[in-house]
């Protein structure tokens, strides 16, 4: 998605920042900057582009973007888990910058590697790292579900490996989080999220009827599988989204143990089960995952 990225000078002036923020990357409708707060600490500043609403469709898109951002902020304010990114010093506010509207707010700035950099890493991630990653993601899914949310976009790019022992992995981007029993934010079209990490049931036309925590469990299992094996079972090379969607629905991944013979087979079986096609064949309750994990030797 191409959209006008606000100038750093405009951002500094609008927010009254002590120094110029540094542009980091765009993503979807969002531009991300590094800024310093009043205490001199780094924060991640986010500016969500809100298109000018002259048609009904544009109004719908704009309203959805605002509602999603508010939902993300509300979820982060609830602080359900220490493994989720936290809000920063800039509260959500609207700004008109360079002739366009933006919703701006900040989050903590995380030092570390996004996990996509671990894919294919040499030496490959250790079992201890992978196990901790999986336990963290399972804990996050549980914590989010307790406040009625699904993340819907768990993937290596959205996980930061911080290297901190008390908080080794942190999940970013609740931008498309879904509030179970909440107001509908997406109307028409397919489900939001990243196709490569989307559970097969989300590719059905009636996906909204079938969404529960098992979609996140699938994405967590697939994230672990990809990071541990160094390969994506449904998108091993660049190809069309149709080909990827076909593989998600029809291809059976190689067992994780075939890539990681050095991992306990019981652990590999847990990951394999999380990425089964049918939700019923995954885990029906997170306690069952934790129970099985408890049986895996450290």
């Amino acid at each position: 998605m191409q959209f006008p990225i606000p100038r750093v000078q405009d951002m500094q002036q609008a927010l009254g920042l002590p120094s110029l923020p540094v542009f980091i990357k765009p993503g979807g409708f969002k531009a991300v900057y590094r800024m310093q707060n009043a205490r001199g600490e780094n924060e991640a500043l986010k500016a969500i582009f809100l298109p000018t609403a002259t048609t009904d469709e544009e109004t719908l898109v704009r309203d959805q973007l605002v509602a999603r951002a508010k939902r993300e902020i509300a979820a982060l304010q609830a602080r359900p888990s220490q493994h989720l990114v936290t809000l920063g010093s800039v509260p959500a506010q609207m700004h008109h910058l360079g002739g366009y509207d933006y919703l701006v707010y900040s989050e903590e700035f995380l030092q570390g590697d996004p996990l996509d950099r671990w894919v294919g890493r040499q030496p490959p991630p250790t079992f201890a790292e992978i196990r901790t990653l999986f336990q963290t993601l399972i804990g996050l899914i549980r914590d989010l579900s307790q406040i009625g949310y699904l993340h819907r976009d768990i993937k290596p790019d959205n996980v930061i490996a911080t290297g901190l022992p008390e908080r080794p992995f942190v999940l970013l981007d609740l931008g498309i989080a879904y509030k179970m029993h909440g107001t509908e934010l997406t109307q028409g079209g397919g489900p939001p999220g990243t196709l490569r990490y989307m559970a097969p049931e989300l590719l059905k036309p009636d996906y909204k009827d079938n969404m529960d925590f098992r979609c996140d469990l699938y994405a967590a299992g697939l994230t672990v599988y990809v990071v541990a094996s160094g390969t994506h079972p449904f998108a091993p090379r660049p190809e069309s989204q149709y080909a990827t969607a076909y593989r998600i629905i029809h291809s059976t991944p190689q067992p994780l143990a075939s890539y990681r013979g050095d991992f306990p087979s019981a652990f590999c079986s847990i990951i394999d089960r999380c990425i089964r096609k049918r939700p019923a064949l995954r885990y029906a309750r997170l306690e069952l995952v934790e129970e099985d994990l408890g049986k895996v030797a450290p």
């Binding site: 049931e201 079938n210 529960d212 098992r214 059976t252 089960r273 089964r276 096609k277 049918r278 939700p279 019923a280 064949l281 885990y283 029906a284 309750r285 069952l288």
Partner: protein, 396 residues
């Protein structure tokens, strides 16, 4: 997997002897044949350490309360057996109270494991399917309101539900998504108007998709921690045990080996009593006693090699002996096939099916033509069912 007796008409001493001899681990009792007083008495008589006693409330039979010729036995003497208002079932408002009354009746009988009532589901996408899911969703909470007991939800479904593969898998997805799920499931597969054929060969349950669907349901529920008891289930029981079933119940006449809603309606009676049969685990079939003796004289391997075999080598065994031999053979087959490693167990079962086919072919070559083709066809159906299940369960 445990074998349970599916209780019905004319138990005589079958249950007590079956329990004493250890060929059954318990029973699913029928309030259609036992008044509340008689039920209490029977439970007291059968109770024992390690024995599983359940009561199938048969609530789905309330659908026949207004039938011109109902055949409900003593069901109407049970307080919970009241026709529910359809609207209250659809809205779900009546469901918690119906379950509680039914479970309370079982608790009053001194049972510690209670089967929740349900409706009979004829089609995967029917209104009844939604109502049945609602019964499942309320079972655990209703049990908590009654007391300290384990809650089994009933899944009473027609075979046609299993023929709609996508619909069935959606139902199982929904069952495994229930918050506060029941401790277990009591599964019945009905075949509409079953006739008393005395043999499962003509049974409609023997369809690859039905077998695969039943295996899939058992597998998906059990891997998610549910205890699964299959009612009215005979030689398929061990195969379901391979898929994780905790128990399978079967009885002493065909109506107790295969479920049918038609039994709740009076039918023309008459006809001859079925002949005594022998369960041959190597042949995976129930065969007539004279046939067993004839087959065994040519191919000794057809014998199940269980203690009851001796009874068949003398004069015609009694109906009780027939029931005991049947349970004993199913239990032996189950023990031989169930190790907990599903891939290995399925392979084992496939080899048994293959071996059974070879034995039937050998019998045919030896001049025994009767029933051979039908049995070979049925074995092929089982083989196809297993293969289909492996695909559904993502094991293949």
């Amino acid at each position: 997997m445990n074998v349970l007796a599916q209780h019905g008409f004319g138990p005589k001493d079958k249950l007590t002897r079956g329990l004493e001899q250890g060929c059954i681990a318990g029973a699913v009792l029928s309030p259609r044949y036992l008044t509340p007083d008689k039920m209490r008495e029977t439970i007291a008589q059968l109770r024992g350490t390690g024995r599983q006693l359940l009561m199938d409330p048969e609530f789905f039979a309330t659908a026949y309360l207004r039938h011109p010729q109902p055949n409900l036995g003593t069901l109407e003497q049970w307080d919970y057996f009241q026709p529910p208002r359809r609207g209250a079932l659809i809205s779900g408002t009546a469901i918690p109270e119906i379950i509680q009354r039914c479970m309370q009746a079982q608790a009053d009988m001194g049972l510690g494991e209670w089967i929740a009532p349900s409706v009979y589901v004829s089609a995967a996408d029917s209104m009844d399917s939604g109502i049945a899911l609602n019964f499942v969703a309320h079972a655990r909470r209703a049990a908590d309101a009654v007391g300290k007991g384990l809650a089994f939800a009933t899944l009473a479904v027609d075979r046609d539900v299993f023929l709609n593969g996508a619909g069935l898998r959606d139902i199982v997805d929904a069952l495994t998504a229930v918050d506060n799920p029941p401790d277990g499931y009591y599964i019945l597969v009905g075949n509409g108007g079953a006739r008393d054929s005395g043999n499962q060969i003509r049974s409609d349950i023997y369809h690859p998709e039905v077998i695969a669907g039943l295996m899939y349901t058992n597998y998906a529920l059990s891997i998610n921690g549910a205890r699964v008891v299959n009612g009215y289930c005979h030689l398929l029981g061990p195969l379901l045990g391979v898929c994780g079933a905790e128990a399978a119940a079967s009885g002493w006449f065909s109506g107790l080996r295969q479920f049918s809603m038609s039994k709740y309606v009076k039918e023309e009676s008459g006809g001859r009593a079925p002949v005594i049969r022998y369960v041959s685990t190597p042949l995976l079939s129930r065969i007539k006693q004279p046939d067993f003796l004839a087959y065994q004289s040519v191919i000794p391997e057809v014998a199940s090699e269980t203690p009851s075999d001796a009874l068949y080598n003398r004069e015609e065994p009694s109906r009780t002996d027939e029931a005991l031999q049947s349970w004993e053979a199913v239990q032996a087959l189950s023990r031989a096939c169930t190790t907990g490693d599903i891939s290995a167990d399925l392979e084992n079962f496939k080899q048994r099916v293959h071996r059974a086919s070879e034995l039937w072919s050998a019998l045919q070559e030896a001049g025994f033509a009767q029933d051979v083709e039908a049995n070979l066809e049925r074995l092929e159906t089982i083989r196809e069912g297993i293969s289909l299940f492996e695909k559904l369960a993502e094991l293949a």
